[in-house]
Symmetry: C2
Subunit: 104 residues, 2 copies
Amino acid sequence: MARVVVEVMPKPEILDPQGKAVTGALARLGFEGMTVRQGKRFEIEVEGELDEQRLAQVRDAAERLLANTVIEAYDVRADDAPVVEAEPSLQPSTVGTLTEDVQQ
Amino acid sequence: MARVVVEVMPKPEILDPQGKAVTGALARLGFEGMTVRQGKRFEIEVEGELDEQRLAQVRDAAERLLANTVIEAYDVRADDAPVVEAEPSLQPSTVGTLTEDVQQ
């Protein structure tokens, strides 16, 4: 299992209403001189060997689904951070309510 | 002007409905063996010198506004990628409709 990170950001020439809203909120909280742009980050666990062909598939997935390439730019890179397994009882496939005892 | 990147992801033990939806969509498009977790990415242009104190302010901003620390984990790091200025005619402060002539 390998992990690939896809980062999607609004293109520089595109207005970024979300970023502007966050920028305004930070200023109201007293954080001066910070201008924010907001995008998305995808961590993709890829089964099997992460060869060039597999990485090309992830790029294709980014192009077709993860990014709106008219207004967004994306970056795809293999991530060598250790894959953190969710606790067995909370595997994503487990149907259940949000657990209350999430440690701080 | 320096740039700091803040990455916010759902904690591993937390169910990620957005990620599950994207995972399902990828499978329907024929992308097999990919499990997706979705988070947010903030690029913050910080005025002035990016010293430890300034970086601590960004961490504080992440803790208080950018991340919901009950269900999300965040990472803050200085980013040495060149700051890409938006074209003068499309500065974020420019009020106007989304331009149609965005080059592919």
